[in-house]
């Protein structure tokens, strides 16, 4: 048994995201005028061993807080999928 954590790290709402701003402009130039905002973050897939979902949840949260996200400027969330033995 194992888990796959799909982790999304995004700039916090109060943090200027100039890259997202540039992409918003680009989309507008291409005619996607309905776009009101783009925020660019980071997506990570972390595979971990174990069979206890609650424990994995706690561990992944700790990984995000200690290293994967800088909570001064970034928010994180994740989904935890159980992986079968064949993967």
């Amino acid at each position: 048994m194992a888990f796959l954590a799909r982790i999304y790290v995004t700039p916090r709402a109060d943090v200027l995201d100039p890259q997202g701003g540039a992409v918003t402009h680009g989309l507008h130039s291409l005619g996607f005028e309905e776009v009101t905002d783009v925020r660019i973050g980071r997506y990570l897939e972390v595979r971990l061993a174990g069979d206890d979902r609650a424990a994995a949840q706690t561990r992944v949260t700790a990984m995000c807080e200690r290293l994967l996200a800088n909570t001064v400027v970034e928010d994180f969330r994740f989904e935890l999928d159980a992986l079968g033995d064949d993967r």
Partner: protein, 239 residues
């Protein structure tokens, strides 16, 4: 004063810092490799610029877990001096030894040029010898130098006089954000509340002797030397 310059994989200003400390100021300085777990008995630890661990994940994010960093934190805890320059500043914020964070420059590209810095006050070890010089010139060389901190954090920094340097605009004004990289409150350098841990994005070690400092103030620029001298005086005075 005795000083240590930490060498991380990807440091590229370590030799410059050692040179300024040892050859320009005559300080007993040595390198300390990142895999060491103990520091030699020193007054000052310098975390130099560069791209430690290739800036993987975020600048400074991996370096903060380098084996030597626990000793650096303990050194700071004892009230001894720590000075992070550029990547060193990024590492100190990631390690929580300084508040805030350094984000990708507002205009997304790497910036390498001289900047003019407004010195906020001289009541710090780093700025104590800059008396009478309200503006210092030295280069920046960074892609991730946009200082950010939340509102409460900024109030604390300002209230406690922890902001040491701000980027000056061409018209000598200080912007709400720095024109050069978008730093909040134009912040270029800060210290911790206790006043023994310092971080700045500009490079004083690259403007510390006439041969390489370039021109400024109608002569050769050695403004950076003043900051190292301040730390030296502080350490000598503390003995």
């Amino acid at each position: 004063m005795k000083a240590a310059v930490v060498v991380l994989p990807g440091s590229n200003c370590d030799h410059d810092c050692l040179h300024v400390l040892r050859d320009v100021l005559g300080v007993d300085a040595r390198f300390v490799w990142h895999k060491e777990r103990e520091l030699p008995p020193v007054d000052l630890v310098v975390l130099p610029g560069g791209f430690s661990y290739g800036d993987a994940l975020r600048a400074g994010a991996i370096a903060r877990f380098a084996p030597i960093m626990e000793a650096v934190a303990a050194h700071a805890e004892r009230g001894k001096l720590v000075f992070g320059i550029c990547n060193g500043f990024q590492i100190l914020t990631e390690a929580g030894l300084l508040p805030g964070a350094l984000l990708r420059n507002r205009d997304q590209h790497f910036i390498c040029q001289d900047v003019r810095l407004k010195v906020e006050h001289t009541r710090s070890a780093l700025t104590r010898t800059t008396g009478g010089r309200h503006v210092l010139t030295m280069p920046v060389a960074h892609g991730e130098g946009r200082y950010h901190i939340d509102k409460d954090g900024l109030s604390r920094l300002e209230g406690e006089g922890q902001v040491l340097f701000r980027y000056l605009e061409d018209d000598d004004s200080v912007g709400q954000t720095a024109g050069i990289n978008g730093s909040l409150a134009a912040i270029a350098g800060i210290m911790n509340a206790r006043g023994n841990v310092f971080g700045m994005m500009p490079h004083p070690e690259r403007a510390a002797e006439p041969l390489v400092g370039g021109p400024a103030h109608g002569g050769a620029n050695t403004d950076g030397r003043l900051l190292f001298e301040g730390l030296l005086h502080q350490a000598e005075g503390a003995r």
